[in-house]
């Protein structure tokens, strides 16, 4: 059995003179959690709608779990659980009725349907609201209902379009945890324009801009594109009697002597406190070495943080202006 669960080949979609997608190619393997990242209007939802057989591509092809989206759309739809953008639900239905209908639509009936509903309700923490009408649920719970209906037939592939949009931080956190759990057993593709979601949830990121794949990499590798990480450390004198100049010089000497350190820059200093920025030679995380070295010399560490490896920078580089189209890896996509 092939390890590739989703494969898009040269997908294009045109609406009149507007190119919503241009030659988008990528593949997603079994068990991957892939973030589909891009600004509004970049083509994320169009791609998802092609993969779920809602839209037909203008050219190109795609297979989902071995079934062609055009030639075997029923086969594709059997393999996927889909949560569309903004979680459209039949709000006049009770949660249990709705999930029952969803199970029936997938050919699951009787005791088996009830068992599946109980399982997904537990997975998505819906057990307490099964008897409630959907219109009386909070946004977070509605999102859970949307995810539950996508899971009820235990699909090997989950396609989630902006699953965290409109949720408060607590709700988003819960849904993120849920998606991470689901990703342990399934192939998950989730579209979003929220970078935090991707960093926390996904093993791989596809960035789409102006209808083209602008990047296809792991979150770590993408962050690396933003440049080397830097470490800012704020120190206080452990020994009050130590002279101010001696305190600053000793701290710099200590940090400069560390392995893999390229430079140490002074950012700010005030009476008894100093902030230094450590620039590493490579991409190593030096926080442990920094704190160990300073603590041994009796310095009091007031703060230590990593800077400069922000996915947001990469996202902006890849998606703002004309750079999107000219970025290496654009248009063809790298595939998995």
């Amino acid at each position: 059995m092939s390890d590739v669960m989703i494969e898009a080949r040269e997908l294009s979609k045109q609406y009149g003179s507007v190119h919503a997608l241009q030659n988008v190619s990528f593949s997603i393997r079994r068990g991957e959690v892939v973030g589909f990242l891009g600004p509004n209007g970049a083509g994320k939802t169009t791609t998802m709608k092609i993969l779920t057989c809602y839209l037909a591509p203008s050219s190109g092809s795609a297979t989902v779990n071995g079934a062609d989206v055009f030639g075997d759309s029923l086969g594709v739809r059997k393999s996927i659980g889909y949560l569309p953008e903004s979680t459209p639900l039949y709000t006049e239905m009770r949660v249990s009725e709705y999930l029952q209908f969803m199970a029936n639509m997938r050919g699951i009936k009787g005791p088996e349907a009830l068992k599946r509903i109980a399982t997904v309700a537990e997975q998505t923490s819906l057990t307490d609201v099964l008897h409630k009408e959907i219109r009386h649920l909070s946004k977070g719970y509605r999102q859970r209902v949307g995810i539950a209906q996508a899971l009820v037939h235990q699909p090997p592939i989950l396609i989630l379009d902006e699953p965290m949009s409109g949720l408060d931080p607590n709700q988003a956190h819960e849904i993120r945890d849920l998606i991470r759990d689901l990703g342990k057993e399934r192939t998950v593709i989730l579209s979003t324009h929220n970078l935090a979601e991707v960093q926390v949830t996904c093993q791989r990121v596809l960035i789409i801009a102006k209808g083209q794949i602008a990047a296809d990499d792991t979150p770590d590798q993408l962050r690396a594109r933003a440049g080397k990480p830097r470490f800012a450390v704020t120190l206080a004198k452990g020994d009050a009697a130590m002279e101010e100049s001696r305190f600053r010089q000793r701290a710099r000497e200590l940090l400069s002597a560390l392995e893999h350190v390229e430079a140490v820059e002074e950012r700010s200093a005030k009476e008894g406190e100093l902030t230094l920025v450590v620039v590493p030679k490579g991409f190593d995380d030096l926080r442990s070495a920094i704190s160990k070295a300073l603590a041994q010399e009796g310095f009091v560490i007031m703060g230590l943080s990593q800077e400069g490896e922000d996915l947001e920078q990469v996202f902006r580089q890849l998606t703002v202006g004309a750079s999107a189209a000219s970025t290496p890896g654009a248009s063809s996509g790298k595939g998995a």
Partner: protein, 256 residues
């Protein structure tokens, strides 16, 4: 085929539940109550000698020119349009179900509710007839059933017309249905002479054996009941086919 019917049955059951929970059923029941109340007033106020012609008026105005149109609007103008506006269409078509089955199930569920309300209203008319005059009930009871069957065919046709516009232009489904039924069906049924052929409402009236009305009724064509029934069924199949074809091939970008 058995699996298809099982699927259709589940979809119809779901639509039935939604329609009952939604406001459509309440609106339609209100219209049915209003038509029944008007019938009651007309029959009570009518002199004995004019009861038969009053009954014809009640059917012509209340059933053929109000109720049949209203049912199509209430149950079918939103058949696809509501799904597009609520964005549930993307979700619905991602199920492993053929699109024609989806539309057909919605059509059947709406039509079943329409017919149920129609026969409730007709039973009320029969009861009122019996209360007013047992002789009238005996003479006209079967005619009411015949008119009911004609109305069933007409409501099925109007449901297909509304479904077609709902699938074709979801953003303006109600307006287009109103224009279509208003121009071709209502106005058409008042046209002089052979122009009446454009109105299936007139064919249904002929099937119900209602005397011609409108402009120059004496020149209006007399339609054979079998031909009228065949015409109504063929037109329903045509409009329903167009609705299914449109739904099958449309992308409904507005829903994105």
């Amino acid at each position: 085929m058995r699996a298809l019917f099982a699927l259709l049955h589940r979809l119809v059951a779901f639509e039935w539940l939604r329609l009952r929970r939604g406001r459509q059923l309440r609106v339609a029941a209100l219209i049915a109550a209003a038509v029944s109340a008007a019938t009651l007033v007309a029959l009570v106020a009518s002199p004995e000698a004019q009861l038969e012609s009053t009954l014809n008026d009640v059917f012509f105005w209340g059933m053929f020119n109000v109720f049949a149109y209203a049912l199509a609007f209430v149950f079918h103008a939103g058949i696809i349009a509501d799904e597009v506006q609520a964005r549930t269409l993307a979700f619905l078509v991602s199920r492993p179900l053929p699109r024609p089955t989806l539309l057909l199930s919605k059509y059947v569920a709406g039509s079943a509710l329409s017919w149920l309300l129609l026969w409730v209203a007709l039973l009320v008319v029969e009861a009122l007839l019996g209360l007013r005059s047992v002789t009238l009930l005996r003479d006209q009871g079967l005619w009411v059933v015949r008119a009911g069957l004609a109305l069933m065919l007409l409501t099925a046709l109007y449901a297909a017309v509304a479904s077609m516009w709902s699938a074709l232009l979801p953003e303006a489904a109600a307006t287009m249905t109103a224009l279509h039924l208003g121009i071709f069906e209502f106005a058409g049924s008042w046209m002089p002479g052979s122009f009446r052929w454009i109105s299936f409402n007139y064919a249904a009236q002929q099937l119900a054996d209602l005397p011609p009305r409108g402009l120059l009724p004496e020149l209006a064509p007399l339609v054979d009941p079998v031909a009228a029934a065949a015409l109504l069924i063929a037109a329903t199949a045509l409009f329903l086919g167009l609705a299914i074809w449109t739904f099958q091939t449309s992308e409904y970008r507005a829903s994105t």
